[in-house]
Structures are given as structure tokens and as C-alpha cells.
């Protein structure tokens, strides 16, 4: 009985930790990717480069806020992580399409490494 309760408590703590990590850090990582990708897309569509970046960055906080609220309300932690990972992969792929032609000195992989560090 006691061990079952402990296990239950430990599992709950683990789920909550994974959710907080996913929503706060995963949500930020995805927002940052969204910002970089949206800046690239808007610049490609004809907006002045600097303007596209500033607009994307300002909207990034709203995107992060939505991701946080969703992250703490979605039913399962597994789904939280799956959706975050899937969206991040899509953004990274999109970025590679736009970045390679713009990036004279680095490759797509190097770019993603930089992104991982910041």
C-alpha cells in the first residue's frame, strides 16, 4: 500500500516535471524556431529583412504564450512532447530551405547547431 502510494506520487512528480520541462523549455525552443522561420519566410515574401525579423520576434512572445497555455492543458505528456518535436522538426526543415541560399559561410547543420547553443 505504502509502496503503491509512493510509486503513484513518484509517477505524478515525473509527469509534472516532464510537462513543465516540455512546456517551458520545449515551448521556448519551438517559439525560437518559429521566430527564425517566420522571419525568413516573410523576408522571402518581400518584406524588408530587418522588418520581417522584428515582426517575427515580437509575435514570438504571443506564440510562446499560446504554447505554454496549451502545454499545461493538453491531456497527455506524451502528446505534448510528440507535437513539440514534430513541429520543431518541420520548422527546422523549413528553415533549411530558406537558410542555405542565404548562408554563404555555413551549412544547414551548422546553423541548427548554432540554434541549439542559443
Amino acid at each position: 500500500m505504502v509502496t503503491r502510494l509512493l510509486n503513484h506520487g513518484a509517477a505524478r512528480m515525473a509527469r509534472i516535471s516532464l510537462r513543465v520541462l516540455g512546456a517551458v523549455f520545449g515551448g521556448y525552443a519551438l517559439s525560437a524556431l518559429l521566430v527564425a522561420a517566420a522571419g525568413a519566410v516573410m523576408a522571402r515574401l518581400g518584406m524588408a529583412r530587418s522588418e520581417a525579423v522584428v515582426l517575427a520576434a515580437m509575435l514570438g512572445f504571443v506564440a510562446y504564450l499560446c504554447l505554454l497555455l496549451w502545454g499545461f492543458s493538453v491531456k497527455s505528456v506524451a502528446r505534448l512532447w510528440l507535437v513539440l518535436a514534430g513541429a520543431a522538426a518541420m520548422m527546422a526543415a523549413l528553415l533549411c530551405l530558406f537558410v542555405i541560399p542565404n548562408d554563404s559561410e555555413g551549412s544547414c547543420l551548422r546553423f541548427l547547431a548554432v540554434l541549439g547553443m542559443t
Partner: protein, 532 residues
């Protein structure tokens, strides 16, 4: 994560509030004070309490005075011109060791005002607001960013979990149990000022797009320093050119300033910066004032220092102007006293909202935790005390230390290796830690004796006493009592004294009420008003 969306939001609101509330209160408290940071400067730097200057400033005379004091290896120096709120010229430069030096210049005599030995409002309180003075890996700025995002989450989840948002506009039942009245006050301040809280928090984040999304330009510009520099130049208009390492001269700064005024159709400069002074490639940056405008424009003109020819001029593009407008909403650097006081009141209401949120959490659990012997309420109560009354006490101790420490020359260059300005900050941090220790020590007693009530009473009493002491010390050490300050037109100094006395009255009244209220009034049925 809970069975319904609203329950998830209630869980999130409760726990995000308890975990981040302390940092949030510190940010809101320091931000509220920052509304009057320049007035706090005048109070803490008596040597700068000058009457507003009537004559226009000659930048060439400033340059002459600056060149005499500037170290030979300074990479740049800048002058901020006097404003309605700042009667002095502010000179800042980096010395050879990379230290940022700030000095004040009297605009009537062009003499350096003796170092006042304090960081005061603009140097301590304002940077605390956005960076917590934690410089290591920009940890402070990131913590403030996390707290700000949490604040947005708290505001949205707070609205979602409300059932009767309209009724709560008008509901405050101060005579009811503390649990009910603290919730009323939490809702009242939260709902009534909701637009302000949301806009002030989001705009605070948007100011720092470069800090919180440092990689934003990577998609559009690519990686590397060159890409970053291109983005900065295109978005913010920064211009730079390398040193020539040949001696150079400085043409008339006044001529450059009037050239800029003509280009801006009457707009006036507020900042003049000389890059690479004395070098042949030296250049001068002139920035346009936004004292009459919400938008903190990025209008700037760069001149060749030796010829006075225009090298580069910049005005922000539309989206960047929106960013500067949103920043201006947050910084309120425009001249408008009514709005400034409203910002101050709205900031205080944010502090009340955070503090009453803590109180409601505590009251909803106090009886239950006492019965089960849980430590949660005790720990959070000590945390709340130190975060709310504690930081107010520490701020007052900072003001008092400012008036009690002898002036820098008397103190010697340093005391035990620490300058006067650093000593003031140490007083702040030590007193703040002491308030946490006092709270933790008090709440350890038997819950039946209501030890927390005693801690709240004692810290409120300390606020009242220290605030009065600060006003008295200002009088004794500078002679500027309230009537004299008002008579001399030192409204910033007088205003700070008045606010200190008002604060003392509120804190003293609170301490008295905490003494007289009956013991029975705080025992509650657990989790009653759970819907909020």
C-alpha cells in the same frame, strides 16, 4: 492535464503563482519605483538638486570640459542633455579597464559635480527591475523574461478560471474573513487593471526581442557575426567605422546639433556621443529626443568629427517603429505627469495583486496544513513575508544608508575594498536577507499562537519607522525639508518625501490593525472559495 481546461488553468494559476510570485513581486516593486527613478536620483544625489536650467547648453563647452577629464584610452564618451526631470548633464564613458563611468555636469558652470557615491534610482533600482543585478550568463534578464511569460500565463489563466468577471469589478468585502477579502482584492486589482498588467508585461518582453530571441535573424540573414551586424545596422541604424590610429580633431558639436535640428524639422537632440575621441577616424552620433512622443524613435545622424560632414542618417522602418512605440509605452520617457502617476498607481496595484494572491493561497491552506502538520504554509509564508514586506524594508534601508554613509571623499576611496555605492547595495541585500531570516524564525512557532501575524505586524512596523527615518535623515543631512523643497521647486525630492510619509502611514495603520484584530477571524474552512 486535469479533467477540464478550466481545472488545468486553475492548477496552473495556483502553482505558477506560488513558484514565480516572489520574483514577480520584486520586478513589479522595482518597476513601480522606476517610474520615478530620476526623482529618486535627485533625492539620493543631493549634489544634483539644481534648479531647472534656463540657458541652452553649449556642447562645445561641454566637449572642452570633458576632454580635460577623459582618460586617453577612452573608446567613446557620451553626453545626455538636461531634461525636465534631470537638471544636470550626464557624462558617461568607458575607462581603459572597461568600467562604465557616469558623472554629472552642472549645465550652468560646466563643472563636474563631485561623485555622489550612489547608483540611486537609475543605476540600481531600474536595472534591478529588468536584470535583478545577476550578470552571470545574463541569468537575471532570463529570469525576468521567464517571470514575465509566467505573468502573461497567470493573467490569461486568471481570466479563464473566473466565473463572474463582471461582478468582481465591484466586489471588495474588507470586513469578511482574510481569505475572502484577500481574494476580493486579488480579483479587484487583477481585473480592474487587467489591460495595464497585460500590456506592461508584454511590452517589457518586446523591448528585449534581441535578448530573448537572439537567433531571430538567423533565418533571414544567416549565421555569423557579419549577418548579425547587418541585421543590427538595418533594424537599429547603428553605424561604425574603425580607428585610424592617427591623431584627429573635433569640429563644433553645436554646429552638428543645429544641423541635426534642421534635418529633423525642429526635433532636438537628447544624446551626443563621440566615438574614437582624438582619432582621425573619430565620428559623432547625434540622437533625437522623444520627450514629446510615446514612440522612442531611433532617429540618428552620424557626423565626421573633424569636418562635421554627414556620414550616415537613419530613421526606423514601420515595424521597428511599432516596436519603439510599444517600448515607449513601457518606458514612459515622455513628459506627462498625470500619466506618470497613473503608471505608478497601476504598478502598485500589480504589487497588491501579487501579494494578495499569496495571502489567498496561504489562507486557503492554513487550517488544513496546521491540522496535518504540513510545512507548506510555513515555508510559503516566510517566502511571502521576505518577498513583499522584506523587499520594501530593504529598499528603505538602501535610502537610509544613502543618507547615513559619509560622502565618498570622507569615506576614502573605499571601505574594506568596497566603494560607497557598493556599500549601499550591500546594505540592501543584507537587510533583505535579514527579513527572510526574521520571517523564517517567526513562523516556526506553534500555529495556534498566530506567529505569522506577528511577523507581518513587525515587518509593517519596521516599514513605517524606516520610512519616517528616511524623511527625517533627508531633512537633517541636506536641509531640504518638505516646505523648503517645494519652495525651491525640487518637486522630485518633495514628492519622494510625501510618498515615504504616505507609505509610513499605510504601513503603520496595517501594523495597528494586525494587533487589534481578533484571533478567531482567520480560522477558515479549507478550500472554500476554490473557484478563484
Amino acid at each position: 492535464m486535469e479533467s477540464t481546461f478550466r481545472k488545468s488553468m486553475a492548477w496552473l494559476h495556483t502553482w505558477a503563482g506560488v513558484v514565480i510570485g516572489s520574483v514577480l513581486f520584486a520586478i513589479f516593486w522595482m518597476g513601480t519605483l522606476s517610474v520615478f527613478d530620476k526623482e529618486i536620483d535627485r533625492w539620493m544625489m543631493p549634489g544634483t538638486r539644481l534648479a531647472p536650467s534656463m540657458h541652452s547648453v553649449s556642447l562645445d563647452r561641454v566637449a572642452h570640459a570633458v576632454t580635460a577629464t577623459l582618460p586617453a584610452d577612452a573608446s567613446q564618451w557620451r553626453i545626455n542633455l538636461p531634461t525636465e526631470r534631470v537638471p544636470v548633464l550626464r557624462l558617461s564613458y568607458q575607462d581603459g579597464a572597461g568600467n562604465a563611468i557616469v558623472r554629472q555636469i552642472d549645465p550652468a558652470s560646466y563643472q563636474l559635480i563631485p561623485d555622489q557615491g550612489t547608483r540611486a534610482g537609475t543605476g540600481f533600482i531600474f536595472p534591478f527591475h529588468y536584470g535583478l543585478h545577476l550578470k552571470w550568463m545574463d541569468l537575471g534578464e532570463w529570469l525576468v523574461g521567464l517571470a514575465a511569460m509566467t505573468m502573461l500565463v497567470l493573467l490569461v489563466s486568471g481570466v479563464i478560471i473566473h466565473k463572474k468577471i463582471f461582478a468582481e469589478f465591484f466586489t471588495f468585502r474588507p470586513a469578511r474573513r482574510l481569505q475572502r477579502s484577500s481574494l476580493d482584492l486579488h480579483n479587484l486589482t487583477g481585473v480592474l487593471w487587467l489591460p495595464f498588467h497585460f500590456v506592461i508585461t508584454l511590452s517589457g518582453l518586446i523591448i528585449f526581442i534581441g535578448v530573448y530571441f537572439p537567433q531571430a535573424h538567423l533565418g533571414a540573414y544567416g549565421s555569423g557575426n557579419e549577418a548579425k551586424a547587418a541585421y543590427t545596422a538595418e533594424a537599429y541604424g547603428s553605424y561604425t567605422r574603425p580607428k585610424a590610429n592617427q591623431p584627429g580633431t573635433l569640429a563644433s558639436l553645436d554646429a552638428m546639433a543645429s544641423h541635426a535640428e534642421r534635418e529633423w524639422a525642429g526635433g532636438r537632440p537628447f544624446l551626443v556621443r563621440v566615438w574614437h575621441p582624438q582619432d582621425a577616424n573619430s565620428y559623432v552620433e547625434v540622437r533625437r529626443s522623444y520627450a514629446q512622443d510615446i514612440t522612442m524613435n531611433r532617429d540618428q545622424i552620424y557626423f565626421d568629427a573633424s569636418t562635421g560632414a554627414v556620414l550616415h542618417r537613419f530613421e526606423a522602418a514601420p515595424v521597428m517603429t511599432v516596436q519603439r512605440f510599444i517600448s515607449g509605452l513601457h518606458f514612459i520617457q515622455f513628459e506627462h505627469w498625470t500619466l506618470r502617476w497613473l503608471y505608478f498607481l497601476a504598478g502598485l496595484s500589480g504589487c497588491v495583486m501579487i501579494a494578495t494572491g499569496f495571502l489567498f493561497w496561504l489562507e486557503a491552506r492554513r487550517a488544513q496544513h496546521a491540522k496535518k502538520g504540513l510545512a507548506g504554509v510555513r515555508m510559503v509564508e516566510a517566502l511571502t513575508l521576505g518577498s513583499v514586506t522584506g523587499i520594501i524594508i530593504a529598499t528603505l534601508a538602501f535610502f537610509i544608508a544613502n543618507r547615513l554613509l559619509p560622502p565618498s571623499p570622507l569615506l576614502g576611496a573605499s571601505f574594506a575594498g568596497t566603494g560607497r555605492a557598493e556599500l549601499e547595495m550591500w546594505v540592501f541585500y543584507l537587510v533583505w536577507i535579514l527579513t527572510f531570516a526574521h520571517a523564517a524564525w517567526r513562523v516556526r512557532a506553534d500555529p495556534a499562537t498566530q506567529p505569522a501575524r506577528r511577523a507581518w505586524r513587525e515587518q509593517s512596523g519596521a516599514i513605517a519607522a524606516l520610512a519616517v527615518l528616511a524623511v527625517a535623515l533627508n531633512w537633517i543631512t541636506t536641509g531640504d525639508h518638505l516646505w523648503r523643497a517645494l519652495g525651491a521647486g525640487l518637486y522630485g525630492v518633495a514628492g519622494m518625501d510625501v510618498l515615504l510619509l504616505l507609505g509610513a502611514a499605510v504601513a503603520g495603520w496595517t501594523a495597528r490593525r494586525l494587533r487589534s484584530r481578533t484571533v478567531a477571524s482567520t480560522t477558515v474552512a479549507p478550500r472554500e472559495a476554490d473557484h478563484a
